[in-house]
Symmetry: C2
Subunit: 327 residues, 2 copies
């Protein structure tokens, strides 16, 4: 049911590049997946993207208004200068202009989690809402905040580092150098780390997880913890209780500070354990200020794995078109 | 040095009403203080304000463009309906229209802490800045956030409840019903509560504070803790270390989530212990994300006790004038 105007959305990761043709209703018409040529560097990756875009547009009567790209990293607003993208090994890469030139088409670059927030806002669980927060719980935790109908970017375009809000003053070490971040208790890496540490400490308490991991603590994954939780394994239940508690604390902070209408939870951990959404809902209603929870709805992301490409395409539509309806 | 256009700023509290005539440069020209007639209710208070405003304008050649009022409570944006103002005992009072009618002049009502943030933003430590956060640490803790040149209000105008961000999952009980809020560790009431509790528990550790309080634990005040801290009393030092730690954790959360250019600390506790600003600065630079701290400046509020009236007046100028320069 594609309408005429489309955009290309790209999710550029360290292992794969997702390229999608998205229509103005936020529907993915076609997509391609490429293995990222990290070694080849920015020029090679721009070349890969050009190839992918050409392929998508080849036999379509549709035209694309522009290309939006989401990259895990710190990106400068407007110029699309990539200050730092750890998965790609990039520092200070002027990727937006490089890509626009290679494509012969305008492009816009943003942070990958910000792109996913655009997707949920314009076409997913946040549609039509002016005040919303997305929290994506995957290996790490990131998010985006829309307030008063505008995406919050901050003075250096790094706003939305929601995984690194402190929920436990003397809590576990985080990869960011701080302690007690929400991510250090509820991110996928943290859940797995805590399970491995328990298995190394008192193996008997981790019997179920160790069996799944072939007896090797270092092979315990977040997915195994989720699976053991479904079997009512006490260690897995405790770890996920602690993760839920940290998510509640972080959500309370966000709700009290921003007073959103919707709080949207997504990412791999939430998709694997959607019951966490109800637990966060209950916890937030118990603990946050009544005035802030009364108008609040908490829900799961609607776009799932497609939020990134859809959001990047939505951003391109917004940037390169004045008259498109995307709200 | 008053210019022609002025506004009236009002800080309406449970014990006193401050009424000030403020010029367009944010300078208080005259002010009056009245004892709040809480028993008389909204009509009586509107009458008191009318009297105060008349007195201020009586022998001045200046005219006021409108009246801005800051009230501790939950206020509806635009309509100025006061949903709840605990210090005044008000529920669902349509004070803005009542006051405008009584004055014969337009008025605008906002939350008192929001008003103080307007003051710091337009005329104080946040002047000229588009991305800033004010945290006022007094008996309680509240704040305001300006992002991308706009005051964040949230969907129900309750954004900025920064005292109630969770910094310690299983921390001390807060008056809001939650545990481990920044306010429950660093607010004036919490510092005093912890000191009293220590004095009741092991009086020997609180000898200095108990002497100040005439031997009565219940008479220990936040000011006494600050005074004992200056004398290197170990209990006072520990309590203020814990308060500083909570302020750092809360500030890290805010800096990572909002990426402000300036973080402004004010309120009675900060005015009494301005060295807390340096401690927060050092802690935030150690613990928050580098990308967020690089552009960040942390400073003390410039307007002190006048932030409320100046901010309420600034809000009135912004609301009732199109051509005034207040940025």
């Amino acid at each position: 049911m594609a309408s005429e105007m489309c955009a290309i959305g790209i999710d550029l990761g360290g292992s794969k590049i997702e390229v999608a043709l998205v229509d103005r209703m936020g529907v993915v018409i076609k997509r391609r997946r490429l293995a990222t040529d990290v070694v080849g560097g920015p020029e090679a990756i721009a070349g890969q993207i050009v190839g992918g875009v050409k392929e998508l547009l080849e036999d379509e009567a549709l035209s694309a208004i522009g290309v939006g790209v989401g990259v895990a990293g710190q990106i400068e607003l407007n110029t699309g200068l990539v200050h730092f993208a750890p998965n790609l090994g990039w520092h200070e890469v002027q990727f937006q202009s490089m890509l626009s030139e290679a494509l012969g088409f305008p492009s816009v670059i943003t942070n990958d989690v910000r792109a996913a927030t655009w997707g949920e806002w314009l076409f997913g669980a946040g549609k039509g809402c002016d005040d919303l927060i997305c929290v994506f719980v995957g290996t790490g935790i990131g998010g985006g905040v829309v307030s008063g109908g505008r995406m919050i970017s901050g003075c250096g375009n790094t706003a939305g580092e929601l995984g690194h809000i402190t929920v436990s003053l003397h809590g576990p070490d985080c990869t960011c150098g701080n302690q007690g971040c929400m991510e250090a208790l509820a991110g996928g890496w943290a859940i797995a780390r805590r399970a491995r540490s328990a298995a190394r400490g008192i193996p008997a308490t981790a019997a179920v997880l160790l069996e799944m991991a072939g007896g090797r603590p270092e092979d315990i994954s977040t997915q195994m913890v989720a699976e053991a939780y479904r079997r009512n394994d006490p260690l897995a239940c405790r770890l996920l209780d602690e993760a839920a508690e940290a998510l509640v604390a972080g959500a309370v902070t966000l709700v009290n500070a921003f007073n959103p209408r919707r709080l949207i939870l997504g990412g791999g951990v939430i998709q694997g354990l959607p019951e966490l959404v109800d637990r966060v809902d209950q916890g937030v209603r118990q603990r946050a200020l009544r005035a802030a929870t009364t108008p609040l709805e908490i829900s799961i992301s609607e776009l799932g794995n497609e939020a990134g490409v859809i959001g990047a395409a939505a951003l391109a539509m917004r940037f390169f078109s004045d008259d498109v309806e995307i709200g």
